[in-house]
């Protein structure tokens, strides 16, 4: 028989572990979003922060024996899925505008008369042979209009 006190004693390290994992995830995400320039990586970092919070929510939920926190996490996950869809569209649009995934390419949105901040130059676009991201092939190749594909300068 486990007394409530025993349960509490056993639950405390579990909570601590959960919170530590959550904090690590959150910090990783925070550092990622502040330091990376790739839009997709930044987006992933933001997701990481979200999951860190979710882990800590689950830990607290279990500690208190209350399912409210876990239910909240389910909600967070579904909202995050929607948000991911929208965010990826933005990323895609940003890429089609500039041909880059670099956030620094959008620096021109700064105030007038301010100098550009450069830590590492954005590599120049190789307009002759653009490299597109590739996915693993799944199923048969779709019929493509070769002519149209040749005339597209980017995705």
């Amino acid at each position: 028989m486990m007394t409530p006190a025993l349960i509490a004693a056993a639950a405390l390290p579990l909570l601590q572990n959960g919170l530590v994992v959550g904090a690590i995830l959150f910090s990783l995400g925070l550092v990622g979003i502040l330091t990376r320039r790739n839009l997709i990586v930044m987006f992933l970092s933001a997701e990481l922060m979200l999951q860190g919070i979710s882990v800590s929510l689950v830990a607290w939920s279990r500690y208190h024996g209350d399912f409210g926190g876990q239910v909240l996490v389910i909600f967070v996950l579904s909202v995050a899925a929607c948000e991911a869809a929208v965010a990826l569209v933005f990323v895609l649009q940003a890429f089609t505008r500039t041909g880059r995934l670099d956030a620094a390419a959008w620096q021109s949105l700064r105030e007038d008369n301010l100098d550009r901040t450069v830590d590492r130059e954005i590599p120049a676009l190789d307009a002759s042979s653009p490299t597109f991201p590739r996915l693993t092939q799944a199923g048969n190749l779709p019929e493509t209009d070769e002519q149209a594909a040749l005339q597209r300068d980017h995705v």
């Binding site: 925070l30 979003i33 502040l34 320039r37 620094a104 620096q107 105030e111 301010l114 901040t117």
Partner: protein, 739 residues
């Protein structure tokens, strides 16, 4: 319908016509004149029926009794207990407030009230009659003008405003419509607003009139302070007290009902200033000659026959006020006579046919002022008589000039055409009739009215000669029972001798001008003016209609007699220009009729009544002066091409002086316009340097703040995220601290 209900129709119909034309004018196209012509016709018929019905109610007794019918349409504004008469205020002069308490507080009530009396009926008949003929004439004159509907809307609007002006029974309403006719005049002078001269002339007329309007405004304020009401008519307050109106029967019957002295004179002079502005008297006459830039029918209606007589109307209406201030009266005459002479002199050298007529209008209006200033019943009725005949013959002359201008392709310089009698016989004959009337040749209309004016001036200059003539003629004697025997004891200086009143300062310098030799001078000036009038009128006739035919090339295919729609009004106007004088003079109809106007039944006016005698000596003098003028004009211009050699010899160095209109415009520019422009320049400098500097320095503050903060806006999304993180950390730290 009762006359007072009919009275409402006179302004209402043109107003409806104007509104209809404004709304549907474009759709009516070339029929846009219909609403205005129909509206003014109906209103003219109503006005004539009003004259008849008013005349019926005045006739019957040997002595005129005051006739007025007041229709109050609605109360515009009412302020209770707005005026508390002081203990010795003239508003509380014993006998002027009938009822419980003369010193009780009175309301300020601005009632939209119309008043029908002989003076109003006469004015309405003139306004709508001439208005109708001018509207018909304009059908021909204005055809094919792009602003056709606009013109007729404005004419109808003017007839409405002017009818309201002469029918209003409240000084504030008079002021409102005084401005309204000014606005119509402005819009019609600037009718061809794309022409810079017309736009300038319109602005000038408006601005010069503002000076006069200022006088009217201050005068109305003073009237309110002095009399505690603005109504002409007596009003019955709910508690049964009669509040005497300024020109109501109660006050008129009271010999000491009007304030003389300093305040009275100030009121009269301010009203005179207003009249000078509207009626183009010295020194505010400068706008009228320039106003000829407007369409000729508008000049005939507004700047010859009706609007410019508003000043005459105002002074005639306020006759009892003036009777209490002999100094103001003599000022009216001096202003009028001087204007008459000066304008006639300038008119003799003008080469623009319309300008000649404009100066002639100024001069004739001066005549009317001179007559009003005599302060006798004869003077007042003579002024209105001359107003009436002048309206007919001057409208006739203007429309004739318009007819000439129409067929000469817009050329109005008399040196460029001549001998037009063969080309346009109807215009020539009617113009000649108008000129004979203007010159004062018997038996045309102007002769009789001018003779009465000369007689009224003569009676002031040589009072003995006229008193001796009394006796064999029956005349309108003072209405018995109205004022009693005290009239002669108190005289028209009644209030001035009311010693208790502090404002009734006896010594007003102007009063000392009321001397026979002043009046004698004025009479001679008027007589000289009569000669000059005949001279410049016939100079214009000879230059335009006699000699070999000469037509400027601008005329083109227009060089022929005007269409019937234009000549018909000329022929119709020629009839009263010929007959109105002799008919109204021999029957004494107008004088009797006008004597029943309430303003002229004040004891001070009535006691000046003199028998209407035909003064043979004056008639001969006037005719001789006119004949001399015509002969001089004939010598100088009959059949001649240009007037230059003759005029040079006669006028010598005076000619350039007169041709530049006595440099009055230049004086205004030098002494009024330029200083004001300099002041405006200074003000603009102050505005730009100081006020704008202040505003700009305030605007620099957010710019400076922004310069610091905008450095944060780097465009790097990581920085923004960092700012967010720092913010969250700060909140956490603060929360931890507080906990």
């Amino acid at each position: 319908m009762s006359p007072s209900q009919l009275l409402v129709l006179v302004p209402l119909l043109p107003l409806l016509a104007a509104l209809f034309t404004v709304i549907a004018g474009r759709r009516l196209g070339s029929r846009a004149h219909l609403p205005a012509v129909i509206g003014i016709t109906a209103s003219a018929l109503v006005a004539i029926s009003l004259v008849v019905s008013t005349a019926a109610s005045t006739s019957g007794g040997e002595t005129p009794r005051p006739v007025d019918m007041v229709t109050t349409l609605w109360e515009w504004a009412t302020v209770d207990e707005a005026y508390v008469p002081a203990a010795n205020s003239p508003a509380a002069v014993p006998g002027t407030a009938v009822g419980a308490d003369a010193h009780a507080a009175r309301p300020l009530s601005i009632s939209v009230a119309l008043r029908l009396d002989p003076l109003t009926a006469t004015m309405l008949a003139i306004i709508t009659g001439v208005g109708l003929l001018v509207a018909v004439y304009s059908i021909g004159y204005m055809h094919d003008d792009p602003g056709y509907p606009r013109f007729f809307a404005l004419v109808a609007m003017f007839v409405f405003s002017m009818s309201m002006l002469v029918a209003a029974s409240n000084f504030l309403l008079v002021y409102v419509f005084w401005e309204a006719v000014g606005a119509c005049s402005y819009l019609l002078i600037g009718f061809w607003f794309r022409k810079p001269e017309a736009a300038r002339a319109a602005k000038k007329a408006f601005l010069v009139n503002r000076v006069g309007d200022f006088g009217l405004a201050i005068g109305v304020f003073l009237l309110w302070l002095t009399y505690g009401t603005l109504d002409f008519h007596d009003t019955l307050s709910p508690d049964g007290t009669i509040l005497p109106g300024i020109l109501g029967q109660t006050r008129l019957a009271d010999v000491s009902g009007y304030v003389g002295g300093l305040v009275g004179t100030a009121i009269c002079l301010l009203l005179l200033l207003a009249a000078c502005g509207k009626s183009a008297q010295l020194p505010l006459h400068v706008w009228l000659p320039d106003a000829m830039e407007g369409p000729t029918p508008a000049s005939a209606l507004i700047h010859a026959a009706t609007m410019v007589t508003a000043g005459i109307y105002l002074i005639a209406r306020c006759a009892p006020l003036y009777m209490a201030c002999p100094g103001a009266l003599v000022t009216v005459s001096i202003v009028g006579t001087t204007t008459a002479l000066v304008a006639a002199l300038i008119g003799t050298v003008q080469n623009d046919l319309k300008r000649v007529l404009a100066y002639s209008t100024i001069s004739q209006l001066g005549y009317m002022f001179a007559s009003l200033g005599t302060g006798t019943l004869l003077g007042f009725t003579a002024a209105i008589f001359h107003l009436l005949t002048h309206a007919f013959f001057k409208a006739l002359l203007f429309l004739g000039a318009g007819s000439v201008m129409h067929s000469m392709g817009g050329v109005i310089d008399m040196r460029r055409f001549g001998g037009l009698r063969k080309l346009m016989p109807i215009t020539a004959v009617t113009f000649l009739i108008g000129s004979l009337a203007l010159a004062g040749i018997a038996p045309f209309a102007g002769f009789f009215s001018k003779d009465e004016i000369l007689a009224s001036l003569h009676s002031k200059g040589w009072p003995d000669a006229h008193h001796a003539a009394t006796g064999d003629h029956h005349a309108f004697l003072p209405p018995t029972g109205m004022a009693g025997a005290t009239i002669h004891d108190v005289g028209y200086r009644g209030v001035a001798s009311h010693g208790s009143h502090p404002l009734a300062v006896e010594t007003v310098g102007l009063d000392s001008l009321n001397q026979p030799f002043v009046w004698q001078t004025l009479f001679w000036m008027a007589l000289i003016t009569a000669g000059l009038t005949a001279f410049y009128t016939f100079r214009a006739v000879f230059m335009t209609f006699t000699g070999p035919l000469r037509v400027p090339e601008e005329a083109g295919h227009h060089a022929h007699e005007s269409p019937p729609v234009m000549t018909l009004p000329l022929i119709i106007l020629a009839v009263p220009a010929t007959l109105s004088g002799i008919v109204l003079f021999t029957t004494e109809g107008l004088a009797h009729f006008l004597a029943a106007t309430p303003s002229f039944t004040a004891p001070a006016v009535v006691e000046t009544a003199s028998p209407a005698v035909f003064h043979w000596d004056l008639a001969i003098q006037g005719t001789l002066a006119a004949a001399l003028g015509i002969v001089l004009a004939a010598v100088g211009h009959l059949g001649r091409r240009s007037d230059a050699p003759q005029m040079e010899r006669w006028l010598g160095p005076l000619r350039p002086f007169l041709e530049h209109r006595m440099f009055i415009d230049q004086l205004y520019v030098a002494f009024i316009v330029k200083p004001i422009e300099a002041l405006a320049y200074l003000a603009a400098m102050f505005d730009r340097a100081f006020i704008d500097g202040l505003v700009h320095s305030v605007a620099r503050l957010p710019i400076a703040t922004g310069a610091i903060v905008r450095r944060l806006q780097s465009g790097l999304v990581q920085r923004y995220a960092l700012a967010g993180v720092i913010g969250v950390l700060a909140i956490i730290v603060i929360l931890a601290w507080r906990l």
